[in-house]
């Protein structure tokens, strides 16, 4: 662990001279629930803010678990990319970056909901309704709520990153947040967009949700370089951390003062890349760890209340939208 006054973790160097990057994930201290954690951040945050951050995590978790059920029940039959396990990063980034332009891709329900996208429009989208956030055309990846500055995604891995660079180029100085995954980070056009943002000094925060998996292929099988090294090579600040939400919030605030910048967040995907299945290979459960931290702050009752309210909200929403769909779409549609 490092303290709040340090320059942060030093992830950009090889573990030691004899251990070149990458290392086997099982032996990689970067893939850890404690990687880069700074003591005392949770206690420093205003309690209401901590609870609001958790509320956003809970909304994603309950929503996506409900989507999982809807697919298993046959109510949602489009491809689904669920953010279960990865709720913390968008929730934490959104705490200081709501109002910025936001772009994401697969596993983006978390981004959409954390940045105040309408839950009903997302449910409708997954149900193929014309009132969906993409009119029923997009399905799971193409989050879109332009009124909330959430820019749609077309489903192609990482192609929101160059678009984000174009948005940042012409945003008149307004900040832009672009989420992508560790797989997308390998797309040539993603790297080119990072280089362009650095060259043009764009107000763009890159957030890599690094679950170490491209579909199911681990990073170690795909590349020998680290994204933070690349970002630093382009001349932008970069940090590599675990997905502790207070830590992510801390670095988001810090990095957003000096954009462009990159935050690589080590996180765990609990469910399949696409679909409702589960391989039980998540290395840690950030949602439960966050609850434990909040309980340690004597906020267990508030956490329980948030979960109860969120669960009811999501259940009521899905019940009502499923009923709506049965009224306006023919059976079997």
């Amino acid at each position: 662990m490092t303290d709040a006054n340090s320059a942060g973790p030093a992830p950009l160097e090889p573990l030691d001279a004899s251990t070149p990057y990458p290392v086997n994930p099982a032996n990689d201290p970067r893939r850890s629930p404690d990687f880069g954690v700074i003591d005392g951040l949770a206690e420093e945050m205003d309690r209401d803010d901590s609870l609001e951050m958790f509320r956003r995590m809970a909304l994603t978790r309950y929503f996506d678990l409900r989507v999982q059920k809807a697919q298993l029940d046959g109510d949602v039959d489009c491809f689904i990319y669920l953010a279960v396990g990865q709720e913390a990063t968008p929730a934490a980034v959104s705490m200081s970056m709501r109002g910025s332009w936001v772009l994401g891709q697969h596993r983006c329900h978390s981004i959409y909901l954390s940045f105040d996208g309408g839950p009903m429009a997302l449910a409708d989208e997954l149900l193929g309704l014309p009132t969906g956030c993409c009119g029923g055309l997009g399905g799971s990846p193409p989050i879109n709520d332009i009124d909330k500055r959430i820019i749609g995604h077309n489903g192609l891995v990482g192609d929101q990153v160059p678009v984000a660079a174009g948005v940042a180029l012409t945003s008149g100085g307004d900040k832009v947040v672009c989420f992508f995954g560790d797989g997308a980070a390998e797309e040539d056009y993603v790297l080119a967009a990072m280089g362009f943002a650095a060259s043009r000094d764009l107000p763009l925060l890159f957030v890599c949700e690094d679950n170490d998996l491209s579909v199911l292929t681990p990073t170690v099988e795909r590349r020998t370089w680290s994204l933070t090294n690349v970002a630093e090579g382009f001349g932008m600040p970069a940090v590599d951390i675990t997905d502790d939400p207070w830590l992510v919030d801390h670095w988001t605030r810090k990095m957003s003062e000096n954009l462009p910048a990159l935050i690589n967040v080590r996180t765990c995907r609990e469910l399949w890349h696409v679909g409702a299945g589960c391989d039980n290979n998540a290395e840690w459960n950030r949602y439960e760890l966050t609850k434990e931290t909040l309980a340690g702050m004597q906020l267990a009752a508030e956490v329980e209340k948030i979960e109860t309210e969120t669960s009811k909200f999501v259940e009521d929403l899905w019940r009502e939208r499923l009923q709506k769909r049965s009224e306006i779409l023919p059976a079997g549609t």
Binding site: G138, I151, P162, A165, L169
Partner: protein
């Protein structure tokens, strides 16, 4: 005073920048300012690094933000790399997300003069295949002004298939309709320059022909202007600078045949890579090739 096509593009671009628009592309400020089609200034011009794919994505992002970028590709060879953000994002945006991404994509075709397999290129047909983009090939100053006005008035992304052969031209083409014509020649892109020579050669052989100039490839309007000459002549040929197979010429020929029942041939680039050596070139169908296709059709009845 008459202007060339290049001067027209340059002046429209300057006005667009003055109105707050931007131009995005690679090597725009290099010697020649893209064949004199870019105003020699830095204001409003975004020089991209050599980042194809990413570059068109940046243009799409700027379009979403309302900057109406003119995205310049100095050779249509680069379309293969840059196509994805254009067809997968800009073209879908309005339908999928409810807001437009009106990129004005300028893609420049070229041929001959040693351009060979790398830069003998005319690939507008690719973009006709995907929904959401309007595709045109203006070859005259007034046509360019018209398609620009169309772009500004609407919110669709445009694929503008330019051709180097047009840049120094001041010509305004007009359809040529003759009584007793035996064939109608539909011309696209640089084919429009060659078809004039072909028609002259046919007339010298005593064969009357119509010429219909086509600017818009998608949407392609099957209207009285294009149908009446075909119905009167009974047969037609569509001539294009792009590849014939699965290309604009075959697509338009199909539409014309379906609408009239008259046979219509497609004549475009041969199905082989163009070479650098003169005898291996494969560009816009020559006047001789057009004449051969026409006389063969007429002979076959």
């Amino acid at each position: 005073m008459a202007r060339t096509v290049a001067e027209t593009i340059r002046d429209l671009t300057r006005g667009h920048i003055d109105d707050g628009g931007i131009v995005i592309g690679q090597c725009l400020t290099a010697v020649g300012w893209v064949q004199n089609t870019i105003p020699p200034q830095t204001k409003g011009i975004v020089e991209l690094p050599m980042t194809d794919i990413c570059g068109s994505g940046i243009a799409v992002g700027a379009a979403i933000m309302g900057k109406r970028p003119i995205f310049v590709m100095r050779f249509q060879s680069f379309l293969w790399l840059n196509a994805s953000p254009l067809v997968n994002y800009a073209a879908k945006s309005k339908e999928m997300f409810g807001y437009p991404a009106p990129v004005f994509a300028r893609a420049i075709a070229s041929e001959s003069d040693g351009s060979g397999p790398l830069h003998t290129n005319c690939f507008h047909s690719l973009f006709m295949h995907m929904p959401g983009m309007r595709v045109c090939a203006p070859m005259t100053p007034k046509e360019y002004e018209a398609i620009w006005a169309d772009y500004v008035a609407g919110d669709d992304p445009f694929m503008v298939s330019e051709h180097r052969r047009s840049y120094k031209s001041e010509i305004e083409f007009e359809d040529q309709i003759e009584d007793g014509a035996e064939i109608t020649l539909y011309a696209v892109s640089a084919g429009r320059f060659n078809v004039e020579d072909a028609a002259e050669a046919l007339r010298e052989q005593g064969i009357r022909c119509n010429i219909v100039h086509l600017v818009w490839l998608k949407p392609f309007e099957v209207d009285a202007r294009v149908l009446a000459p075909l119905k009167a002549s009974g047969r037609g040929i569509v001539i294009d600078s792009a590849y014939e197979i699965a290309g604009a010429s075959q697509s338009i020929a199909y539409d014309l045949m379906l609408a009239t029942g008259c046979p219509v041939k497609a004549v475009g680039q041969f199905d082989r890579s163009p070479g650098v050596a003169k005898h291996l070139e494969n560009g816009t169908p020559t006047a001789e090739r057009i004449v051969e296709a026409a006389t063969s059709m007429i002979k076959d009845g």
